[in-house]
């Protein structure tokens, strides 16, 4: 084959620009830390990258949701724990009031404490988290109970605030006040008296009239209230457990998916540097040989 000067030059330019293009590819990879800069560089990596980004950002949001859920549930749990203590104390003083060895002064003190416990119960029923009433069902902007122990609002047992803590996985994070403050009646309507508070009121009335047999009978009612309270707490506890598990799983998922994302799109620095180095060597070699090949011709030797 006849080789002409322009063929040499064209071929040399072609291979040099090929070298440079590959060098640029590795340079871009190293500069951005990513394997690809456009979807067409590798459509499969690109499409996986999009999917994984969505997954990672979703997991992050679910994690924030579990944090919020945990905070809300912690407050609810703490409030109910106080209520439990409160009912225990009420039982103690009711017991005390029911046996006949109290002086009038003692009885007065007991009555005072009982009415103090009652107003504490109401104020616990109106507990808030970040300005929202936790037992008010969906009406988080309104307190659950009035001072006289009647409901301020309608609350339905189905008013469950649900947070998403996974794809298609949501959990109700609240305890509707109706479930807690009405033991036998389902739901609560505004103006009606709370059964829980009513039990307290009955105990106080019996203390007022010093009706010992009634007080003994009411001890049983207080036990029932305690039972109801513990039932609700157990339910919440189970849900808290689930949120905790979900949070742990999300933590793992977050690590795994971030790792996957990085594996999918991040460049292996060592490999890229090696390849860049290799390209640089090839580039230098082709420059050196190119310079030797295209320079001399017969002209240089005709003297």
């Amino acid at each position: 084959m006849r080789i002409t000067n322009n063929m040499l030059i064209n071929n040399m330019m072609q291979s040099l620009s090929g070298n440079l293009m590959r060098t640029q590819k590795y340079f871009n990879q190293l500069a951005s830390g990513k394997k690809i800069s456009l979807p067409s560089d590798d459509p499969i990596v690109a499409s996986k990258a999009l999917k994984l980004r969505t997954d990672v950002s979703e997991i992050a949001q679910y994690k924030r949701n579990t944090d919020d859920a945990t905070a809300w549930m912690d407050i609810t749990e703490a409030t109910m724990s106080q209520m439990t203590d409160l009912v225990h104390r009420m039982k103690e003083i009711t017991n005390q009031a029911a046996n006949g060895t109290n002086t009038d002064e003692d009885l007065l003190k007991i009555r005072e404490e009982a009415s103090e416990l009652r107003s504490q119960l109401i104020s616990l029923g109106n507990a808030t988290y970040a300005g929202r009433y936790i037992f008010s069902g969906y009406k988080t902007d309104k307190p659950l109970l009035n001072d006289d122990g009647t409901y301020n609002i309608d609350v339905n047992n189905s008013e469950q605030i649900r947070f998403e803590i996974g794809i298609g996985d949501n959990i109700n994070i609240n305890v509707p006040g109706s479930d807690l403050f009405n033991r036998t009646i389902v739901g609560a309507s505004a103006g009606n008296k709370s059964e829980f508070v009513d039990t307290f009121d009955k105990v106080i009335a019996a203390m007022d009239s010093d009706d010992k047999s009634e007080l003994s009978k009411l001890l049983g009612d207080l036990d029932d209230e305690l039972g109801n309270l513990l039932r609700v707490r157990a339910g919440l506890g189970a849900r808290m457990n689930r949120v905790e598990l979900a949070a742990g799983r999300l933590e793992d998922d977050n690590v795994n998916f971030t790792k996957l994302m990085s594996k999918n799109e991040d460049v292996d620095i060592a490999e890229a540097i090696m390849k860049l180095q290799n390209e640089e060597n090839v580039y230098r070699a082709s420059l050196a040989t190119g310079a030797r090949v295209i320079q001399p011709s017969l002209v240089d030797f005709l003297k």
Binding site: T4, N5, M7, N10, P43, Q61, Y62, A69, R132, T140
Partner: protein, 552 residues
Amino acid sequence: MNNTTFMGLEIAMRGLYSSQRAMANIAHNIDNVNTPGYSRQVVNQTSARPLLVANGAGMLGMGSDVVSVDRVRDIFLDEKYWSEAQYLGEWSVKATIIEDMQTIYNEPSDYGYTKIISDFYSSLQSLTTDPSSLSTRALVKEKGVAVAKYFNSVAVHFDHLQEDLNNMVNAKVEEINNIADQIRELNLQIYHFEVMGNKANDLRDHRGYLVDKLSRLVNCSAYEVETGLKLPNGEKETRFVVTISGKALVDHEKAVHLKCESRETKLNEEDIENLYEVSWADGNKLQLKSGELKAYIDMRDGNDGIIGSDGRASPNCKGIPYYQRKMNEFVRTFALSFNEGIIDTDGDGVLDNIEGHVDGFTLSGNTGIRFFAMLDEYGQPISSTEFEARALDYASKMGIADDPTTSWDERLVAGYQNITARNFSISFDIEENPSENIAASSNAGEAGNNENINKLLAMRHNTYMFMEGAPEDFIKTVISSMGVDGQQYNQYLDVQEGIVMQIDNRRHSISGVSLNEEMTNLVKHQQIYGAAAAMIQSYSEILDILVNRMGI
């Protein structure tokens, strides 16, 4: 016939002339080493017509003669180049344009669609954990605006790109016309030179080079046809013809131009106004098979072969209108499901009506408010009620009128065609008062109720929302199909570059000037020149003897 006195001198002189011609030719070749399209020329030298010696002692050689100067060219390679360069033109243009299109989506990155839609859903998630929070509501609005603006910006960039491509179509048509005119001009010059029996080597090279350029722009073939007539020197008369898909662009001394005319009706409904339709200036329809011009038109008009409103088919290529259509499809379906809750929930291909934003209740217990709407003529978001009025109006224009057989949903669904990626927006109600108008609740007067938001969020994972799946799957599919196309174009381009480079190298191998060769020839002819000069010297001495020393 006997020897004449000066015959030797004459023969030597011919030697000088031949060498001179050859050396002039070498100079010409060297001068044109870098002239594009140039093919080396060779001097065609023969021994001159001999003299018959009268006494039968044979023929007497009369030196050398230059009969012609020919160019070294393989027409077969030219034809091969012309038939392959069109694909090189097409793929190099398409590969560049699809790169531009990919940058518009800006994916994969931390600022693209995925990020924006994730942020929007995250803000809604935050709202479910605190539906009464005014600051979270403001956040949801801002993220909603970001989603809408993303689509607006993608659509506007596609519009700009389409306009640029349209200008390129015009520029390429002018380039083709220009080349056609130059070829026509050269045809005339070459014909006039060659009618005398000469060979217009350099002009032919130039013409070949123009066809090289033309063959990248458009699928063309170029050939010489015999007219059946004879030239004065006895050669067959030929005419040079360049055709595009069989119709002559240049026929010897005639050139037919292409023309660009603004379309009166759009080819695709997604197109911008006044795109050029390219046709023959004589009114015939132009058929393009490949080349840069077709690449620009394909990417400008390509809507995956869909038949447009007036029955014309768009090019079978995923160009700008295709992606605009996909974006429109996205915003329409997305807004329809988010606003109205009209969405296929069970994959039976029939739209169901579940709760959407419109079915939820705002903080103060209002209902019937749409989250997304569109921009009006002045670029302002319209209100939910105004949007509904326009949608129903649009539906009745489309022939889906208010009569007992068509359901409300059906009319509304048709009305959502009003939304495009260009005018997609949040509604004025949300824009004006997000803290009040975002409908998080499923009941009036329940500040902590997040049921409606939860329902809206569930749509994120509804894989029946689009044929391609859930909202994020849809965009992922669009972007990766663009990526696959881009990858394919680049591969075609690589292959085609290899083919064309190979053909061009072979052309260079045959027609290119080699300095070594020319130098060798130069030395060869220089020595012959010297030898011929020495012959003249000898004859001069002989004549000196004859004239001055024969002493009369």
